[in-house]
Amino acid sequence: MNANKEIEQLIEKYFSGETSLEEEKQLQVFFQREDLPAELESYRQQILMAAELRKVRTELNDDDLFAKIEEASEAKEPKVVELKTSWQTWGLRVAAAIALVLVGFWVGERFSQNTEVSEIKEELALLKQQLSSNSASGRLQAVSQIKHAERPDEEMLITLFAVMKNDPNMHVRIKAVEALAKMGKQPGSVQALTGALLEENEPAAQIAIIEALVALQEKSAIESLEKLTEQDQVLKEVRDEAYIGIFKLKDM
């Protein structure tokens, strides 16, 4: 009788989410017995369900999983073939490689800089022209076409900041956020993103900004993310995303 009382109390705690892992184990052991008091019978399946589900195993073995991993990474990078060679031939190869790289740099330096700068200029002019277009799809296309994401110049950044903040169309704003994320850390981009985060009302755009801040591994964004989670009018999913973002950033 006394023992039953104890179990009944445990059950009550279990249903109010207050049991410890230890107590939950106790329940699982107790409900395995054959001679359950009738009044507790109705709890049996629920308590034992956990043990039942724990038996589930995937039929995929490690090789299956690795096959998929290889498939995915092969699509991304060419295979490296290892050759067995003596160290002398290696020495020669290294020397040849260094020489090649040096020549490459010298040639590249002379030609690429100018063309790249002019390409960026051209791109920027086109971007600005298209951004003044009235159609959202035109503006969307403009932002999607930014190619020189690795080395943006200041004007390009400022243009993107403005689009992210002011464009009336959510998809265009999101594209701008994604373009900024692709550029990596740039002067001013973190402030612009956190600023936009607190002004943005569209959940999808808010989530895009959170993802961008996480992608940039910007720990200083944690404060803004925390601010966002405190705002009740912000959609729950967005706040969850912000929590996850905070967790990831703190963990980096």
Partner: protein, 170 residues
């Protein structure tokens, strides 16, 4: 993180991740698909994996997020109705690998009716036995909300189960 470490630290999580995906997506095929996808993502991140305090928490987070994405896009395509039909007719029983008594089948049926988030919490806590701190890291939820969510899930599961057994008896 190198191949060997990946094999000893990440791959052994596959059953746990699979169970989470199965409970969320209610389909063996989709759970397997998600598991492979999660492994590919973790492999892609292997360079940074060492920096995470808990690789396991990260793996669960990635898995959970993939499931939520799938559930969202499914709702988009109105696939869910079809799937519920399939589940009810036993066509795609997610737990077909288990030998279950009639009452346990009813219990799992009741469990399947819980909202996504509640199923997730039950799997993480009752099945996988994670602490509240761990679940908080995995889901981004605060511990208090996890307790409240679990309490609701357990009560709702009981109610649904009692309803199912009553229905069977009639």
């Amino acid at each position: 993180m190198e191949l060997q470490e990946f094999k000893t630290k990440v791959l052994p999580l596959k059953d746990r991740l699979y169970r989470i995906a199965l409970a969320m997506l209610k389909s063996v095929e989709e759970a397997e698909d998600t598991l492979q996808d999660v492994m590919v993502r973790l492999w892609d991140k292997r360079a940074q994996l060492g920096e995470y305090r808990s690789v396991e928490a990260l793996a669960v987070t990635v898995c959970k997020n993939r499931c939520i994405d799938k559930l969202k896009s499914k709702k988009h395509k109105h696939h869910e109705d079809v799937q519920t039909l399939e589940v009810e007719s036993g066509l795609s029983n997610p737990y077909r690998s288990l030998e279950l008594g009639e009452s346990m089948k009813l219990m799992l049926k009741a469990f399947d009716t819980l909202p996504d988030q509640q199923r997730l919490l039950v799997i993480l806590r009752d099945v996988e036995g994670y602490s509240y701190e761990e679940i908080s890291m995995q889901t981004g939820l605060q511990i208090n909300n996890i307790r409240v969510g679990l309490s609701r899930a357990r009560k709702a599961a009981r109610e649904a189960y009692l309803k199912e057994t009553e229905y069977e008896r009639q």
